[in-house]
Symmetry: C2
Subunit: 418 residues, 2 copies
């Protein structure tokens, strides 16, 4: 039995009690046992599951995403509560590298189906985070429309949208992020199993290669246009800005959302083949940054502030008026900022042999109506990048705050109304 | 500029000459410059591009796959030769962490489209391998049917097959494997670009989570049924068995294939939801191994030989007659062995909300007609696993041998016929 095999086994079979009793802040395998140093184990990190805010939002972005939107197949509130409580328990265990339940993959009663599907046995926690949100329809279906935040409403149509209804919307979302896709897919698959009879998958999306890093500790990664994406993103290290732009504050809406946020997902198909034929000059003019260092046009360093007033000898703005970074900037947006946390995707090729690929855009905002909606209206109407992209999926969810010890997802929302 | 940024830059801008002049066996960044120790850089490894055999076959399996089958859109042999020569040059550079061409992503003439799409800038080589094969139709379309090996023929229909023609077959395949999906996708995308006008993508497949390790140095990974997959696989450390079962030997067929092999790809949809409802006993009886350690039923260790003659007190075989490992074993197969190198896949959910997931099975064999075909016939008709899987895609390709210094893919095949 190799070291990598023995680890999860130890956690699963002898460490389970300690893990359940432990508080959220578990660093690596430091559960009071002698375990390898997680700093030397790629993927060995455990992200704290409980806290003021849900994990997977300002957590340094992992490399892999599996995102699922589900619809309620039962509108019995008790069944939904039971499922959410089971999800919470299973997700908390999985973020520690454990099976969904003790002896989950290998039940002692061999004539029962395993509770855990088993494909993540032996794999380290891989910084798994599981983040849950509720769509506008969740409240209608459960008859609790009065509990829906005013900030949570269907997004309007934007110019150029070509949304596929079957890949948009949803009553509940699960965002699983990890540094190993097997771990992220395993998490969602097992939560979906737990929810059988209460929810069914509406659509799902696999993503890879984080864009828009959420921590100053992470270098900015590149999207499929080959450009650094998210240089000016909000960062975990900016708590005041996060309170201003991301976290729902007391008084914003219903109490159950305080400390929560809203997740907006947009599946953005990139017209890769068209982009790849564009000259470097055109590509940089569309983005507003250089392709090499990612510096704003006219600047020399990635994190140098863009000078939107700079003009060349012909009086032409150095950063074009319809460039993406200019239009998306807080300067153009009356101070609006959003926390982006998107991933690249590639889903093979379409029937013309073109790459079915792009950006699965995810952002977190305090109020979609006053942040994402005006930003996307401006971009959809003016962004030079619009010639190279099409939005094909869209969804919005209210993400409750982080969980206290013993609390389950949605408890404050659902139990106050009993 | 961070250390991770500077590395590829150094390689791309100052190291290109050294890299092009170097012989294949490049370990990490040891190109005569002062570079970080690749052993301390996750993903920093360079896999030798040239050699007796193509890389990506007995190379220890990477974690991520991007596989593409292409059709010829031009049947001019000169155009195909030119493309294959350009592919070879670009692939050799990319396996070293370089752009497809010098200044590829950032052309000095800014009014031209970049030769390299740029999204892998700054990323380490990530053990990228690129493996190329030719389908049966390749020979017909180029008018060189006389050069086609007799071993390369369309696979017959197998019981239970539900093949999608648009996701089967192809004139040429590119298998890109790496430990970072961005690196694997980048490689294929850029080769497809180079081939524009000569080839077009027919279908593509993203895979993750290696199954069937190809080296004794790798622990056996699990497939989406939660079982260790490929315990009895052929291994890189067994050269005599590889010569017997994988590598085409002199006299087997046309000289240009000596040292080559055949790639069989099968897209196997797993009926995850059905499987997940099966009791542990049933699951283990289907596979013939325990789910925990992966030992053969009745045994205690993963690599213990299966005892197919063992019966229990009732006279029932301990390893069922229709179990997967019994039917696929060399004992059942008159000594046939194959080198498996498959990956898990998940492509969201189908219109019933079921996971569209499974195993993208890839194997390499000396002769598909005498190895894969009889094995799959036996399995398709008898394997207990057939209740839980459906083959939805199929393709076969002849992979030429490894490349000598200066040689391009297919050169021995195409130039001898001039």
């Amino acid at each position: 039995m190799s070291a990598s095999i023995s680890r999860r086994r130890l956690l699963g079979w002898t460490g389970a009690g300690a893990a359940v009793a432990g508080v959220g802040a578990v660093s690596g395998y430091a559960l009071g046992r002698t375990e390898p140093d997680p700093a030397q184990e790629p993927g060995g990190d455990v992200v704290e599951f409980r806290g003021t805010h849900q994990a997977g939002i300002v957590t340094p972005s992992q490399n892999e995403l599996y995102f699922t939107a589900l619809d309620l197949t039962s509108t019995g509130k008790a069944a939904v509560q039971r499922m959410l409580a089971q999800w919470t328990s299973a997700a908390e265990r999985m973020t520690r590298g454990l099976e969904t339940a003790e002896n989950g993959a290998l039940p002692l009663d061999r004539e029962t189906a395993p509770a855990d599907t088993g494909e993540a046995l032996e794999l380290p926690p891989s910084s798994l985070t599981v983040t849950v949100g509720f769509g506008p329809t969740f409240f209608d279906k459960l008859g609790i429309t009065d509990r829906r935040p005013a900030t949570l409403a269907d997004l309007p149509s934007f110019q150029g949208d070509r949304l596929e209804p079957a890949k948009s919307g949803g009553d509940i979302c699960i965002q699983a992020c990890a540094n190993d896709p097997q771990v992220a897919v395993h998490a969602v698959r097992n939560l979906v199993r737990i929810g059988f009879g209460t929810v069914a998958v509406r659509w799902a999306q696999l993503g890879y290669g984080r864009t828009s890093s959420t921590s100053i500790r992470q270098p900015t990664a590149r999207n499929l246009f080959g450009f650094k994406d998210g240089t000016n993103n909000l960062k975990a290290e900016e708590p005041d800005l996060l309170d201003q732009h991301v976290w729902v504050q007391g008084g914003d809406g219903p109490d159950w959302m305080t400390g929560g946020t809203h997740l907006v997902a947009r599946r953005i198909r990139m017209h890769i083949e068209t982009w790849d034929r564009a000259p470097l000059d055109e590509q940089e003019a569309v983005i507003g940054r250089t392709k090499g260092t990612g510096s704003p046009l006219g600047g020399t360093g990635e994190f140098e502030p863009a000078n939107y007033r700079s003009i060349d000898a012909n009086g032409t703005p150095v950063i074009p008026l319809n460039s993406h970074i200019r239009l998306a900037s807080a300067e153009s947006m009356n101070g609006i900022k959003i926390l982006r946390r998107g991933f690249n995707f590639v889903a093979g090729s379409d029937d013309r042999g073109h790459l079915n690929a792009g950006l699965f855009f995810v952002c977190f905002v305090r109020n979609p109506q006053t942040q994402f909606v005006p930003m996307q209206r401006l971009l959809a109407a003016n962004d030079a990048m619009s010639d190279y992209i099409t939005h094909t999926g869209s969804a919005v969810f209210a993400c409750p705050p982080g969980l206290r010890e013993g609390e389950y997802w949605g408890q404050r929302l659902l139990e106050d109304t009993v």
